[in-house]
Symmetry: C2
Subunit: 339 residues, 2 copies
């Protein structure tokens, strides 16, 4: 039986093996993904990003439990979790996080957890995550939570894979930290203030709302006695014309507080995407981006097979000696190594 | 007179125009860089990275002044500053920073300052920075300070352009923040604890040293009464075999405290690179990476010119309909669109 068939039949060990193949970008992994792709497209991809210390892992664990409750009369969804930690492997964060998770969700065979701590290239990390999402999707996991450590472009790229993106904040991390989030706020569908039992929760909420105002011109926010009273819906032109005002929700993940409200907001966002055409637009953008990445890699690998290493290294030497510019060298290489 | 010639002759207005061409990736910019490349290779590239709030901009301004003092009997070096802020443009940080800088360094025609706030692709940002560095190098700027807002992969990529990389930390930003720096510490040649008049400076210093220990196995660090007594030199295998123990230095940039010690450490690092062969190794790695990036872009652009848009969009549709996988679609595209 092929690896892909075994994954389709629900074999967890085969799924784990496939994810390792995908992480290592092996030909066996690529062949299996090729076979599995026609079975994808059913899962709701939920990105969860935020700085270290915001309590993302707890939140993801509790959300996994929320989605294990049956929707309507049917069986509960299978839930996949992919935790991506692009920081250096010597922190050991991903492995530790994995163990904490294993303990929290132990015994539930409807949950599959995988973490990835990689220093690989950005493209590699996003592409491995994308492959893992496809494997879980084909294996019947209808909810896939993708957790990343926020702030950098890598996380933004990975978050763009998702249908619904949660940005997690916590009180007391300081205004200076908020600034770095400006970019990531633009991709947020739902903002979560976790650890909301800590002092300063109102300040954090207010900072997020101010940044949303900056990110999305002319929002309507009403304050009364220091409390947020109303936010009217308004267009987000960069998300394709579907109107969705990112709500700001409070949670205390370690106590399970606010989780069901957050889960409900995620389901509302899914419904919104499905009725507004946003779902198709995001699928289109995501798959086209993946196609373009693979195309680039394919072009380079075919060129390398045909190219002469001697000509290449001679041109590198001439660039180093400042005899020709890198631009000129590339033109020479593309024109078949004529020097 | 060509733009390149005018830049070589020291015309600041032409240099500013060229940098705009480079930022916008115009053909005029590329032609000028092609012409200027043979005049590059003289500058010492110094990367300065750190989280928001660490006081990088002040530090960079004071370092610029330090390097404007003549070395030996000669004239003072011309100093270029490139400030890269990959966060969203609506924060306005880069523009504000630019104005503060202009005021600090006003009237010194030996200093050229340029900031770039871009949401462009990662490749684009690193490649624009690389082009700007080459333009300043050719224009005779012997010291080029490249300032980035730390944490993400984008900053690491940009820092890799440099001969000497400074990672700036400040007391009181919290241990959680430190964690995200693990990756960036590996590329640090010099660690700076700025705002060293704040409480907690010893803790920050200790945290950095612990992380250095993790990053570089088996360092020799001696403590006495809570003070660092000695760090012995040790190999950093990933920097090509040249031995350099990153020093940890305290500064209070706003008061100019510790700047000349920091400047001296930078000059020591340059000397170390030049005597150990590290300079050539870094130049080689940098130019080869640039060549590879340009090669990829060139392959894609040539392929696009030859490809059929109808075949491409038909294949995208078939991927979206889950009829074929992205891998299969790319193979079809590379094989000339045979479906």
């Amino acid at each position: 039986m092929s690896l892909a068939t075994s994954v389709l039949e629900g074999n967890r060990l085969s799924l784990a093996r496939l994810l390792t193949h995908i992480e290592n970008d092996t030909s066996e992994g690529r062949a299996a993904l090729d076979e599995l792709f026609v079975h994808t497209g059913q899962a709701h991809l939920i990105g969860v990003t935020g700085a270290p210390g915001t309590g993302k892992s707890s939140l993801v664990n509790h959300l996994a439990r929320y989605f294990r409750k049956p929707e309507g009369a049917g069986a509960p969804s299978k839930v996949g979790i992919i935790a991506v930690d692009p920081s250096s492997p010597f922190t050991g964060g991903a492995i530790l996080g994995d163990r904490v998770r294993m303990r929290d969700l132990a015994g539930d065979t409807g949950v599959f957890i995988r973490s990835m701590a990689s220093r690989g290239s950005l493209g590699g990390l996003a592409s491995a995550t994308s492959g893992m999402v496809q494997a879980l999707d084909a294996a019947g996991y209808r909810i896939i939570l993708i957790e990343t450590v926020g702030a950098g472009q890598a996380e933004v790229d990975i978050a763009r894979l998702a249908h619904t993106t949660l940005v997690v904040e916590a009180p007391g991390l300081g205004d200076e930290i908020q600034a770095i989030k400006a970019g990531i706020l633009e991709i947020a569908d739902i903002l979560v203030v976790n650890k909301a039992d800590r002092p300063g929760v109102e300040n954090t909420e207010r900072a997020l709302l101010s940044m949303l105002q900056l990110a999305h011109p002319a929002p309507r926010i009403y304050w009364h006695d220091g409390q947020l009273m109303r936010i009217e819906s308004q267009p987000q032109p960069d998300r394709g014309g579907d109107f969705w005002q990112p709500p700001v929700l409070r949670t205390v993940a370690t106590e399970g507080v606010g989780i069901s409200e957050l889960g409900d907001a995620i389901l509302r966002h899914r419904e919104h995407l499905q009725t507004s055409g946003g779902w198709e637009r995001r699928e289109h953008a995501r798959l086209q981006a993946e196609l373009d990445t693979l195309l680039k890699a394919g072009l380079v690998s075919r060129w390398q097979k045909a190219a002469s290493p001697a000509v290449y290294s001679d041109l590198v030497d001439r660039v180093l000696a400042r005899q020709i510019s890198p631009w000129r060298a590339v033109e020479m290489l593309l024109d078949g190594g004529r020097t």
